[in-house]
């Protein structure tokens, strides 16, 4: 069973069909990737998870209990006021659609990658539900 799974995951084609298709409209992705509404609490846990390419590698976030926030991308405090939910979703799913040169990884894209470690090949960094949870969390980061 694990072997079969590994074989299936090794084939990008079959995996690609498992990714939810996303449509970019007016600089955002208006349609949620899942039918389950995102949970901001889960999102806040996911963005800290070092096993999931934590945003904290690059961004400062209003998560004071975590040490050593990165300084590579802009701080995300207030980001929920700067962008709409569809805009946040696109910035997470595929920031390269906005700026092909950006350092920020696409969290829900599998094409166009080179030499991906076998155990991650054919899978996006986040699942569709994790995208929704993190988007929901980012939307709560309002400027005051």
């Amino acid at each position: 069973m694990p072997l079969l799974l590994a074989v299936l995951m090794a084939s990008p084609l079959s995996q690609a069909e498992d990714l939810v298709a996303v449509a970019i409209v007016d600089g955002g992705i208006p349609a949620p990737l899942t039918s389950v509404p995102g949970s901001p609490d889960r999102g806040r846990l996911i963005v800290r998870d070092i096993s999931k390419a934590s945003c904290l590698i690059c961004h400062a976030m209003p998560i004071p209990e975590e040490p050593d926030h990165g300084q590579i991308g802009p701080p995300l405090e207030g980001i929920g006021s700067a962008y709409s939910v569809p805009e946040l979703r696109l910035r997470l799913v595929d920031p390269k659609a906005i700026n092909p040169e950006t350092l920020m990884p696409s969290y829900y894209r599998i094409e166009g990658l080179t030499g991906v470690l076998a155990r991650y090949a054919g899978t996006p960094i986040y699942t569709a539900q994790e995208i929704e949870d993190v988007v929901a969390y980012l939307a709560t980061l309002k400027a005051d």
Binding site: L56, I72, K96, S106, V116, Y120
Partner: protein, 262 residues
């Protein structure tokens, strides 16, 4: 062999497409600065004092091996090279280099293994074995303070180009190139780490994170894996080419081996 085909492919494609445009691009390669400059003062202090630098355990192991007969010929390194302080001065700073007998690049580890297998009737030592790290560190120490200067012309040229291509190619699930971090972000914080230029003048290094002495190729593999990219094998032709590019990129930096890094 397969690599060579690949290499030629990469090089000719590179010439046709990218070398031309790259020449017009601004070269992002910064003025070389050693990783030492990016370390915390406590880490620098460990490197500054040979008596507390933990890599000196490797140096001592290498020094002992230098005069220990190994292999069926009953020879030690010292039988042919006598005092390493004189015979090995400046040698590490010139590696990797093209070796016509091998028909490819040889780095310091590879040259030492050649000595064992060809001159001494001994088995090659495994990459990252204490013995090979010891000999490599001991030989590299004899170049301390001397500027890195590798030859990238003639037959070394295609390897240099392949190494440069590798450095500028985004890879892994995080889709980042070596250059994006080590040219673009040097000096900035990636969480707790200050990113350096990824120079190799300090290797073999003692890496505190690993509690051990480590080769250049082990570090390449670590960065690859951090990007969730498939690492290459230590000693592989791809990593030798990358090593040659990096040695050129840090040209003029004084050799620091054995450096201490986070």
């Amino acid at each position: 062999m397969r690599f060579l085909v690949l290499l030629v492919g990469v090089v000719s494609a590179g010439l046709a497409a990218s070398a031309f445009s790259r020449a017009q691009e601004a070269d992002p390669t910064p003025t070389p600065r050693s990783g030492y400059e990016f370390m915390a003062p406590q880490t620098q202090a460990l490197q500054d004092d040979d008596f507390v630098n933990p890599a000196f355990f490797s140096v001592e192991a290498g020094e002992r091996l230098w005069s220990t007969p190994m292999g069926s010929e009953g020879l030690s390194c010292a039988s042919c090279h006598e005092a390493a302080e004189t015979s090995m001065a400046g040698v590490a700073a010139r590696y990797p280099q093209y070796d016509p007998d091998v028909g490819g690049l040889v780095n310091l580890e590879g040259r030492i293994n050649q000595m064992l297998t060809k001159e001494m009737g001994a088995e090659a030592l495994a990459y990252e074995s204490e013995a090979l790290l010891g000999l490599t560190t001991y030989v590299a120490l004899q170049s301390r303070g001397m500027p890195m200067a590798v030859d990238i012309e003639g037959p070394a040229r295609p390897y240099f180009e392949a190494g440069r291509d590798y450095f500028f190619t985004r890879r892994g699930q995080l889709d980042l190139s070596c250059s994006q971090c080590h040219d673009g972000l040097a000096g900035q914080k990636l969480r707790g780490d200050t990113i350096s230029q990824g120079q190799i003048n300090g290797f073999p290094i003692y890496r505190l994170l690993w509690n051990s002495t480590a080769s250049r190729h082990r570090m390449f593999a670590w960065c690859n894996t951090s990007l969730r990219a498939e690492p290459e094998a230590a000693g592989s032709e791809t990593y030798l080419a990358l090593e040659l590019y990096l040695a050129w990129r840090g040209g003029g930096l004084p050799m620091e081996s054995p450096a201490v890094r986070r």
